[in-house]
Amino acid sequence: MIQFSNYDIISNLLYATQWTILLSIAAFIGGTSVALLLTAARLTRNNVVQKCVHFYVELFQGTPLLMQMFLCFFGLSMLGYEISAWGAAILSLTLFTSAFLVEIWRGCIDTLPKGQWEASRCLGLSFLQTLRHIILPQAIRVAVAPTVGFSVQVIKGTALASIIGFVELTKVGTMLNNATFEPFKVFALVALIYFVLCYPLSLYSKYLEKKFHVSR
């Protein structure tokens, strides 16, 4: 019979952590890219486009991430698109991340005083010039903190990929638990590793938020 030492447990968990990190980074990059496109689309002030973005946000914020993963994983293949657990996880996390980031960023743009738009208009700046020189530079500064904060949600979201069989930290945790029958130890370690990944990001986000408020 195989015996797992603490060293085996920890080294296997750390090995799996790589996949959690990789999946998080991929999902975050995917999410921000899509969210950028959607934010740009939303700023066009075209009614139909805005409705579409709104629907997108409602849809992916209003359904469980787990369902989105199931649908991406089993659903897409049933419709004839080949997709791996890794691909389904990235795809669903991208949809999920972008839906939240679009809303977060919209909030950031909306917090800028209306006077900034009006002053620009009175100086003869066009809509795009106002965006480029006045709104975006300020909005980006506001947006960094909540965006970093949301990256924590993305990391935690990757844990659900274990349910569609993607082997990352949580999955290895359940596998090891089954092999060792030491749930208390294994899940405490898993939680600890997530905490070590997420907490610095949370702290950094808070720090940015404070810094921004002070410099206002």
């Binding site: 006077g115 900034q116 009175c122 206002r216």
Partner: protein
């Protein structure tokens, strides 16, 4: 011909009738003080003149051109009308110099060097030459407002619209801003001010326009109007403010 002309301008916010047929003629070089109770439509009137708000009836012309809220039209208008706001609306992420140079470079397509020269000259004019590289947040309210004036002047407008530009200032800072306005008036700039500073209106202004319930209720030469109001409403208003 008059520089600014309003003819029977009506403006609604939804069902709310805010401007009820405004007629007004303003010539180049005049200093107009618009006074009136809160909610009487003073800000709305100013904002219609430079295309920030739509109006539903009547017509406004500026230098003979019709004023609308279309984007292109507003941008063209911005070349001849400057506006200064109660809360300054400086761009916080740019230095004072960059605030002033922005529109001359990207709207008027001037070179950086040229724009910088203009910015320096305008800062000189408002007495803040040494603040070129400061960020707005480091300035007092009075200084920020003077920068805002310099920013508007850098576009060499024909008219300057000022909406209660001293109301957000501590009383001891009001004077420095009014002094700048007085100087501009002396140099012949056309000014349209919404203001509560009655002394300024009387001493510097050429004409006072009293608005009440969305109408121009009474207007006339600033000294005579304020010392000898005709309508009860104006009498009451002057009584309350002075």
């Amino acid at each position: 011909m008059s520089l600014v002309n309003l003819h029977q301008v009506h403006k609604y916010y939804g069902d709310h009738h805010v401007l009820k047929g405004i007629d007004l003629d303003i010539n180049a070089g005049e200093v107009i003080s618009i006074i009136g109770k809160s909610g009487s439509g003073k800000s709305t009137l100013l904002r219609c003149i430079n295309g920030l708000e739509e109006y539903q009836q009547g017509g406004i012309t500026l230098d003979g051109n019709e004023v609308t809220t279309e984007d292109i039209q507003v941008r063209r208008l911005a070349l001849s009308v400057g506006m200064i706001f109660q809360n300054f609306n400086l761009f916080p992420h740019m230095t004072v110099g960059e605030n002033i140079m922005l529109a001359p470079t990207i709207v008027l397509k001037k070179s950086k060097a040229e724009a910088a020269d203009i910015a320096k000259a305008m800062l000189e004019k408002v007495g803040l030459a040494e603040k070129f590289d400061s960020y707005p947040e480091k300035l007092s309210g009075g200084q920020q407002q003077r920068v805002a004036i310099a920013r508007a002047l850098a576009m060499s407008p024909k008219v300057l619209l000022c909406d209660e530009i001293t109301s957000a200032l501590d009383p001891e800072l009001v004077g420095e801003v009014l002094k700048v306005l007085e100087q501009l008036a002396k140099e012949g700039m056309t000014l349209i001010l919404v203001t509560h500073e009655m002394n300024f209106a009387r001493d510097v202004g050429s004409r006072v326009v009293f608005m009440h319930k969305g109408k121009v209720w009474e207007q006339g030469d600033s000294k005579t109007l304020l010392s000898d109001p005709q309508t009860d409403e104006l009498k009451q208003f002057i009584g309350a403010v002075l």
